[in-house]
Amino acid sequence: MNKHWTSIAFNWRLALGIVTYLLSSVLFVKGMSNGELSILFPLVSLGYVCTLVWSKLFFKEVITTVKLAGVGLILIGIAFLGYGSQHH
């Protein structure tokens, strides 16, 4: 079984993922330079929820209650941070 690094080089899914990420980060940099920070946190939270959904759909990962609790706590924490950063 060849799990060599070359399989990474020719792995089209990985390449597509990286390209998609680079595209999104260009938009992100542009948004950061002009945009309101307050919209950042809800969008980040959306990203986490999407990732949970993809994980279950595509990788058949079990979404346990503990995982949901952990992610939920993180989202709540991010919301608090976001609110705390807005009002000085």
Binding site: V26, M32, T51, L52
Partner: protein, 139 residues
């Protein structure tokens, strides 16, 4: 054995390697924090640029360029960690970088401390701990 590309492989998790994957991602959140700080610094210069100007700026503004280089290093390490860990556990762990960014902003750049930030940091750390320690149990 040829690599079947029609469906992603489902790896049987190895507990020791899963712990290593979690540790790698947590350690890498420091890299993410540094990269995000550099990128924010560089992005400040782009407020009048269009989309093409932004792409050019990524290569010409040093903070942006090095910020993305550090992010590239993190990405390689993250992909490596993903081989032995679950996405639903490892991806949210990246949010620990917000804790580092907040602490740095308060200590090094004298941003204000307020209860929301303190609670936010504490709750994120709690969530990361829950995920890191509890995310591996199958039901």
């Amino acid at each position: 054995m040829t690599q079947a590309t029609s469906a992603p492989e489902v790896h049987l998790p190895d507990p020791a390697k899963r712990k290593l994957a979690i540790f790698i991602v947590l350690a890498c959140t420091l890299l993410v924090a540094i990269a995000q700080y550099l990128i924010k610094l560089g992005a400040n210069r782009l407020s009048h640029a269009g989309l093409l100007g932004t792409v050019i700026g990524i290569f010409t503004i040093p903070q942006l360029f090095f910020g993305y280089c550090i992010y590239a290093v993190f990405t390689v390490l993250f992909v490596f960690a993903l081989r032995h860990g679950e996405l639903s556990v490892l991806y949210p762990l990246i949010s620990l970088s917000y804790v580092w960014v907040t602490i740095t902003a308060v200590l090094a750049f004298h941003e204000s401390v307020n209860p929301f930030k303190i609670i936010g940091v504490a709750v994120i750390i709690l969530g990361v701990a829950v995920l890191g320690f509890g995310g591996g149990e199958e039901q």
